[in-house]
């Protein structure tokens, strides 16, 4: 993908230059390095927990709905928790960052939410316990206009429905 590729490259360059410039910016370096892999958010700033050790959200690369290894790990934890709490139903909310057209982002959010839902189903959770809703780019958690903020907003969040 043109945009995401060039975006990723730019980001890598920034990352490298940060590492090279060391000392003075060391703090920033660790922070950014620790919070993004490619352009997928890997930090925990915005994460909430459905139960102890069960994160409520997973993150996506620009324009993507592919689940990363870490996302699959999170979703397996959610599936276990849902199995143990069979009275709880959930809504999976799909979100996009602000760097895309509104209508496409609504579709993309729906695709992301369904990627998470499908994974929960694969791990034995009944489809009728999971509904999905896409908010597109309408409900960011981080209001900054920078790659890190955008990475936190490209997400699907599992919330209790009852």
């Amino acid at each position: 993908m043109n945009f995401s590729k060039s975006f990723r490259n730019t980001f890598l360059v920034i990352l490298l230059s940060l590492i090279v410039s060391a000392c003075a910016t060391k703090k920033t370096t660790t922070k950014v390095e620790g919070q993004m892999q490619g352009d997928v958010y890997t930090g925990t700033d915005t994460v909430k927990y459905l139960a102890d050790g069960v994160p409520d959200r997973v993150f996506f690369a620009t324009n993507e709905s592919i689940l990363t290894t870490k996302s699959r790990d999170t979703l397996r934890k959610q599936a276990n928790w849902l199995r143990e709490n069979s009275n709880i139903n959930v809504v999976v909310e799909g979100h996009a960052d602000e760097r895309g057209t509104r209508e496409y982002n609504l579709a993309l959010g729906e695709r992301r939410a369904n990627a998470a839902k499908d994974y929960l189903i694969t791990y034995g959770i009944s489809a009728d316990r999971i509904s999905v809703i896409s908010y597109g780019k309408e409900r960011p958690v981080d209001s900054g206009s920078n790659p890190l903020s955008w990475s936190k907003n490209r997400r699907s969040v599992t919330v209790k429905a009852n």
């Binding site: 760097r99 057209t101 496409y104 609504l106 579709a107 729906e110 896409s134």
Partner: protein, 448 residues
């Protein structure tokens, strides 16, 4: 609710002279030399001024109407309304018979004069357009309507002048429906709002209790279609702005979005998302029959009909990323038309039929552009940090869209505003709104 369209106008064409005018405006090119025009305040006698004050709380509605005209002509970028301080002739005398040499002296090439009376709760307006160089009347019209319609009279005069001098229909007696935005970026409150094309008479159609997006006018009636998250179920709705009644469009077991009317106003075309896949559907508003138009595992959205209803342009990522496609309106003959560098979205067919306007994202910048319907002749009109969702003026000469500013790392500095730009790429300007605004849609001409 309120009635905003149910307004009666009686328009009488007094005269129109087609032959031998010396002035005309070419709007196919960027107009860097706008036509100097004098808009004389419409004359009003003392009795009318008294009635005007009683009826409208405005004493001199004649000059108010001329200000509406002046402002419209100015924002079109095609006219340069001259300062009234330089006018030598009084409005009433000029209206009877202008002294052309006086107007030529201040370099006016065209002159608008007129007369207003308010009597028995009726507003009567008469106006004339004069060709100063040829020394003759080009057009004369008279209107009768209710006094509260005075701004619309100004818009209709503007349209008549625009049409007479450019040879194309105007776009001033129109409205913009849009989404009004307030509050923090992470908890934005959005309401449907409608206003006159020049930013006046704003009315809010929803209260902000639920998220609303992408309103679009029916080109043939007073209906609007939009996306509402009412009860947290994102669905396409149909709203009658005259009566305020609204209903869900169709009975879909999931999100419907990206709605638009067909040009004949008989169908709504939209996306329906199910199991992570969005396809394009139509619903016939008369018999409620739903038809599936695309059937592809990719995202298909942002559909827009050609003005003859025969084709549909839409946005799809079936190639791996967002591009623009055209197909027949039954869904056959799908062809990709965007091949430039970057991502393309929000295609919208021009009311003239020859162009498709779009949003393009390339190297972190957003562009509003146009291309021919086969994808050739791509022309980018404006570049910015973020902008999207162009909507055509009914004459296909101007695009309105929204633009967002970048936030700093604390999330401050964000704004969303409406902007317009001529098809020529000139005359870019912000459209005034009471609040932040996005997702504009331009109505058809109201007086047709």
């Amino acid at each position: 609710m309120f009635k905003i369209f149910n307004l009666t106008f009686f328009i009488i064409l007094l005269s129109i002279t087609k032959a031998n005018s010396l002035i005309e405006i070419d709007i196919t090119r960027g107009n860097l030399d706008p036509l100097p025009i004098a808009v004389s305040p419409l004359f009003q006698d003392d009795n009318s001024k008294k009635n005007s004050k009683n009826e409208l709380k405005i004493e001199n509605v004649g000059s108010e109407i001329s200000s509406v005209v002046e402002n419209n002509l100015k924002i079109s970028g095609l006219f340069n309304p001259l300062s009234k301080e330089a006018f030598l002739q009084k409005p009433d005398i000029a209206h009877l018979k202008p002294r052309f040499e006086d107007w030529a002296l201040i370099k006016a090439q065209a002159l608008i004069t007129g007369k207003v009376t308010i009597e028995n709760k009726k507003l009567k307006v008469e106006f004339r357009l004069w060709d100063i160089l040829a020394g003759r009347e080009m057009m004369a019209l008279a209107f009768t309507t209710v006094p509260s319609n005075w701004r619309r009279v100004g818009h209709i005069i503007s349209d008549k002048v625009y049409e007479r001098l450019t040879g194309e229909k105007g776009y001033f007696d129109t409205r913009i429906i849009y989404v009004s935005e307030e509050g923090a970026k992470t908890a934005r409150v959005k309401k449907l709002a409608i206003m006159d094309q020049d930013g006046f008479n704003t009315k809010y159609l929803t209260l902000g209790n639920e998220l609303v997006l992408t309103p679009r006018f029916n080109p043939t009636s007073q209906m609007v279609t939009y996306l509402s998250y009412f009860k947290n179920l994102p669905r396409v709705y149909l709203l009658d702005i005259e009566t305020g009644t609204q209903e869900v469009v169709g009975d879909f077991p999931g999100m419907t979005f990206a709605p638009r009317f067909s040009p004949d106003g008989k169908k709504i075309i939209m996306s329906f998302a199910k199991d992570g896949n969005s396809d394009i559907y139509t619903m016939d508003l008369e018999n409620r029959i739903v038809e599936r138009i695309t059937n592809h595992p990719s995202i298909d959205t942002s559909p827009s009909y050609s003005p003859d209803n025969k084709f549909i342009t839409f946005n799809s990522d079936r190639s791996g990323f967002q591009q623009i496609y055209v197909m027949k309106s039954d869904g056959s003959n799908v062809k990709r038309i965007s091949f430039g560098k970057g991502l393309y979205g929000t295609p919208v067919w021009s009311p003239r039929g020859d162009l498709i306007a779009f949003t393009k994202l390339h190297k972190g910048k957003f562009y509003i552009g146009v291309m021919r319907t086969d994808g050739s002749g791509e022309r980018l009109l404006t570049e910015n940090y973020y902008q999207e969702a162009p909507s055509w003026s009914p004459n296909g000469r101007v695009l309105i869209f929204y633009r967002e500013t970048k936030s700093n790392d604390k999330g401050e500095g964000f704004s969303a505003k409406l902007w317009s730009i001529d098809l020529t790429g000139y005359n870019e300007r912000q459209v005034q709104t009471e609040t932040d605004a996005s997702d504009p849609s331009w109505s058809s001409l109201l007086s047709n």
